[in-house]
Amino acid sequence: MELTLKNVSYSYNPDAPEPVYAVRDVSLTIRSGDFAALIGHTGSGKSTLIQFMNGLLKPTEGQVLFNGEDIFEKKYPLKTLRQKVGLVFQYPEHQLFEETVLKDICFGPKNMGLSKEEQEERARHAMKLVGLAESYEDKSPFELSGGEKRRVAIAGVLAMKPECLILDEPTAGLDPAGRDDILGTVRALSDEEGIAVVLVSHSMEDVAVYAERLFVMKKGELLYDDTPKAVFRHYKELEQIGLSAPQVTYIAHALREKGFDVSEDAMTVAELKQEILRVLGK
């Protein structure tokens, strides 16, 4: 699986003498096994960008290629693409509508035209992936807690067996335990099922722990496309665009200024702990 955005731009008034761009000249590629995070200030074009990836929005300029084929070609089967590139919107629990959890998760597979048995098999598999016990099958999605609803919604997309999963702030509004649960699940999906993941996030801490690659957006343009460590070295530039590095990185920098030889690349509590122990143990 290879999903490529090639010089895509999106403007609300493409014909105006000076178009206003929501996304401007962004190029990036996502491959199987990637775990990437997309970060940027509110209004930096993240949500617009991810809608290109499954053809919900057509860029005003540039191309979107899935396995080398332009998805906005006339005859391209967008429905199949949307099944292969699963998109989980912000607050996905708001899209639940069926009477039971199982039926709701079956909605995607049903639209793919699968047999009833296969729909349910896929739905049960997806429930297992997101860690929902079988006892949830016949419950109404509306009586679940926020975190559980979100799992159901994510399972609804996973049931289509996507090769690439894009999640728009999947942890917004969840408590810390719910947040770790969801992100852990996504991480496991990427590791075990080989699904490529793109995570839109505001939390540098989450990104530092889970992502292997960061896309940083600034006013519609792609500012960085690198590993988290390399990106967080630009923490001063990140601050200028309303972002920051993880707090641990700041502590590492402060320690270095005081003369401790810890690595400035420490991003997570565990990494910094190791570094401090190493320095102290010397």
């Binding site: 919900l56 919107f89 899209q95 639940l96 509508f97 909605f107 609804g156 289509m160």
Partner: protein, 267 residues
């Protein structure tokens, strides 16, 4: 996708008409409609037309927007014209097979169309020059006398402005849910009526759920800020008549007076 829906067709510009008190504009609409039914004959309608042009010029709203409202009325206009044309009895001036057109029919058809066109344009002036909120404010104030017979005027006006306020929010919500369901393979565009109607279920249920959630959140937020209905509630910008409003009322009365005189004196 559902976009570009403008409800409450306010045209944002600055003009004498825009600045008028909403109550004056309500009165204008009412008086103008009454005048259209008081008047009959070409002179009266010429007078009504002149007055309409006068107001449109003052409002500085492009005529294009005025006429837009007519498009929705086109079917009704045609039907009422046809009915009058063929069904009114009188002196036959043209007949073919079962169709008969009478002189009175032609007269009635023309009058009906002119009346309806003026009516639509006249009332769209109000909505084009008044924000929905001003409009409900004006309505609340003008209908306050109904409180005497226990009509909850304030509550109705509040409901109206909340409803108006929520239309853009709900449209955005529809867009969001639609995209989310399309991402799950939903298909809103193909198939016959029944398939399309069925396809709306995954859209409508989440929409209703969210509308109820928003309503309950809003009610809570309002209560938290001590909202308890209209009694004793004051306004940030109370409606007050200014000099232009008085002048506008005088012009309106002169217009109505003129119309009645013409209707009585002219044949």
């Amino acid at each position: 996708m559902i976009r570009d829906i403008t409800i409450g067709q306010y045209y944002d510009t600055d003009s004498v008409i825009h600045r008028l008190d909403p109550r004056v504009k309500l009165a204008f609409t009412l008086i103008y409609i009454v005048s259209l039914f008081v008047g009959h004959g070409p002179w009266c309608y010429a007078f009504a037309f002149a007055f309409l042009v006068f107001v449109i010029v003052l409002s500085r709203v492009p005529v294009k927007f005025m006429v837009k409202g007519l498009r929705a009325m086109l079917v009704i206009l045609i039907i009422s014209a046809l009915f009058n044309l063929f069904l009114v009895q009188g002196e036959v001036i043209f007949s073919w097979w079962i169709f008969r057109i009478t002189r009175e029919g032609v007269r009635m058809a023309v009058m009906m169309v002119v009346r309806l066109v003026f009516l639509v344009i006249g009332s769209s002036i109000m909505t084009l020059t008044t924000t929905p909120n001003d409009l409900t404010d004006g309505l609340e104030r003008s209908l306050r006398f109904l409180r005497v017979i226990k009509v909850p005027v304030h509550e109705i006006a509040m409901m109206m402005s909340i409803a108006l306020r929520f239309i853009p929010i709900l449209i955005e919500e529809v867009n969001k849910i639609m995209k989310a369901q399309i991402a799950r393979g939903a298909d809103f565009d193909t198939g016959g009526i029944i398939k399309k109607a069925k396809a709306m279920i995954p859209l409508l249920i989440p929409l209703f759920v969210s509308a109820f959630r928003r309503a309950s959140d809003l009610a809570l937020a309002m209560e938290a800020r001590c909202y308890h209905g209209g009694d004793g509630r004051t306004k940030l910008h109370p409606l007050k008549y200014g000099r232009t409003d008085i002048i506008a009322y005088i012009i309106l009365l002169l217009y109505l007076g003129g119309m009645i005189t013409m209707a009585v004196l002219l044949p």
